[in-house]
Symmetry: C2
Subunit: 147 residues, 2 copies
Amino acid sequence: MTGRDLSLRRFSGYAMKRAFNQVQADLNATLAPHGLRLVTFSALCLIDENKGLKQSELAQILGVERPNMVLIVDELDSADLIVRDRSTEDRRAYELRLTEQGEKVLAAASAAAQGHDARMTAGITDDVRETLVTALWRIEANGRQRD
Amino acid sequence: MTGRDLSLRRFSGYAMKRAFNQVQADLNATLAPHGLRLVTFSALCLIDENKGLKQSELAQILGVERPNMVLIVDELDSADLIVRDRSTEDRRAYELRLTEQGEKVLAAASAAAQGHDARMTAGITDDVRETLVTALWRIEANGRQRD
DNA sequence: TATTGTTATACTCTATAACTATA
DNA sequence: TATAGTTATAGAGTATAACAATA
């Protein structure tokens, strides 16, 4: 552990895996008291920002397969955080909306998630933190380009 | 997809998840022709840098549970990339070493992985790339501190 | 009694095929 | 015929308990 993996540490992919393992563990622990995990929290954010979002649109944005999205939306639905409204334009589709309870939970969970983010990026300047997030989205875009 | 998840994008954890999804897919595709995946490649690097590394030490460094490490080492062993030598000091333990074939495969896979890394970080300056990797390891250390 | 490697097992995540109802 | 949501299912990846050999 003490400088053992010197050359591996220079690989950005390995650094990302190890860092993300920690972030995921801490974030899920942070969200658990709110009955959420990373993917359900993300879904809640997106539905809040895009009223009437369809399940399949949500799946595409989150990069989740439709069959798996069903379970995620079920989870939020069962917890009364969102409702599935039948679309009047396309009666095959559901439009997703937050309930009042969903808005309350999202507000509380967002505050907790911001605390988590600050904790994980402790000792990193706002400047570097911004550079980090920008670089990560650039990497994500580079990857998506080759699909 | 077009600016839909504005506030979520500011969360470093979400950015890391999305970026790492792309990196993992590209890296595994890059390593597959060499018969490796991220975890077996990492193991191979570590064994190369630390001759005689024990299985349990490797598991601890990689953050993998011992029972799962068995399968990973089995995979490298079956492919004749490493050997398990019984330790003379502690006959419960194995000392892991690369075979000649393992050294060849590691050299080829390392070159491929460096190409992958360059591809994924295209458009990012060396300066920012270094900042990124340093910040990721800082985040990893912040997470480990609270275990 | 503790530790290394192992087996068996279970739980989560993810991915694919096929169905239904609508379009 | 194509699409939205669903079901069933199979494959990874990961985690825990318990065992044999050795310390």
